[in-house]
Amino acid sequence: MEQIIINIALWFGLYTIVNLSLNLEYGFAGIPNFGRALAVLMGAVAVGGVVNRILIFAYGVSGNIIEASGEVKTIANEIISHNPMYGILLLLLCLITASILGSITGALFILPSAKLSEDYLAITLLAISEVAFMVCNYNVDIIGGYYGVSIPDVLAFIPGKSRMPVFTLITLIVAFLSFIFVEKLTNSPYGRLLRAMRENEDVVEAYGKNVMTLRIKTASIGAAIAALAGALYSLYSVNVIATSFSRVEWTFYPFLMVLLGGAGNNKGVVIGTLTFVTVKILLTMYKHEITYFLHLPFEAVWLEYILFGLLMYLVLLYKPEGLIKERPIFTTPIKRIARKLHQKF
């Protein structure tokens, strides 16, 4: 039972980070980023490909990335178990690298499509993300492809049993900080500009703002946040396998959670995430029982796909505004006027 709750909390944290970034891009700015998985994958590349290489270079380990990463893992774990500070610094290094790499890729890959209408944009982003996923999967030199690479355990100083709760706590802290950041950002003039862009790009252009720059900025910030989740997930599982960054898990499910919670409303997205993650974890926990009980001649994962596909469709059809609707913006002047009106009547 405790295990289930920790598992739900961990995935809630990871998905909250991704979903807030998607909400910033899709919910507020109206960019249909069907390539969210790419940013998460970049977070994993930052840890498995970049930080790992730095460590390999620092320790002077030779050989290909797959074997060398294993050796580095042993060395680093040994150091971290005596020196917790080293592990914490490594964790921060990973997160910073991930967000830098994420923001660069986010900005770079929206460039060719920044001028396009939303359907072309969605297609292009999906295509880029799919191809990047495929390349990372086949090419064993980036992050070990389908063999995967090992990652040092940044919490090696914590005894095995309490490692998972501590890591979950770290994830939840990062998720909370992301929430504060996105909430502040979307309540600023910039956030209001994003909403204006979503509603009508021509009006934004007419007021002298460049829609292309806005899109690039937003995609960059969004990807930087989403990459954090990729990095945390890799650090948690102490290895990176490109296969685990599929479109279903990191693009479709985030869209489902954002729409379920309420696009354009950060609190709604958090609630949507919690609902979805709870259902998903319980399904995963009891999948053997479900398979056995229903006498399924196939794996339960296919049933999960049908179920969540259907859920998404029902949300679109019956509750397109989500569990919590987007609220009008109450800026200080509007609040003042509202108070005055309230006093008069």
Partner: protein, 306 residues
Amino acid sequence: MSVFEGAIVYSNLLVLLSIGLTITYITTAVPNFAQGSFAVFGSYIALTFFRLFKLHPYGCLPITFILGGLLGVSTYLLILRPLIKREAQVVILMISTLALDLMLLGMLGSYSGYLQSITHKSTTKFIFTPYDFSIFGFSAILIFSSTVIIITLLALFMLLYKTKFGVALRASMENPSLAEVMGVNVEYTRLFSWFLSGGLAAMAGCLLPFRQEIVPSTGAIIIVSIFAASIVGGISSIYGALIGGYVIGFSESLITFSLTGFLGTSILLYSRVISLIVLIATLILAPRGLTGVNWRRIVWSKLSLT
């Protein structure tokens, strides 16, 4: 099969898929992200008839066309029409096709598990290449895929330009609201386009196992090439799908093959990177695709420069 032959076969299949994608985009204004899974649906129908009734996949083409067409029509009726009635935005329609793609993936996966349990042969991964034969020195897949393309194009041409329904269809593609005012039932044209789209995709899927291995999630892999083909040609023109299919099919097959000389055979895995590069180059240089470019003006400006 020679590389060139393979390129033609692959391009033929891509053309079938991208014509379907384009025609539904023109009539319904939504890019169908489930087009790849439509094809895999066709592959599994062919596999079912092959395993259970020993019907050769080539003989199965008409059946896959009809069943695929029904899948297309039900996609429109059950998924898209209720949303369009509620005046959903394009993004919502796109997400609904993504949801359909996931549902189809789930259904194909469970069906493959079920089929495996009754035939006791692997169905989660299959290929038809060993059952191919040759006709007059050419591989049968080349003959069949080319025949399917020629028949499709002729039928489409006859329908669009020689019948009254075709006139109505073209009118509602050009300007749906005007066509509706003139008494054309836009609903019929949409139903027809979805039937055709599903049918062509399923036929392509029936032939696809002769060229590559099929798994339930193959749709997610080929969707990149389908979109690239449609956009490179110009997603608002049926000719565009034809041109784009051959451009993407040939560049994927031939460019990767010619690169093997420099970079080794491992490059063959990255053929989709080529379609992505062609796609991005098109979006930058000619966002409306090859058929959207005013070629006469370009030639004219070149001539006047000299």
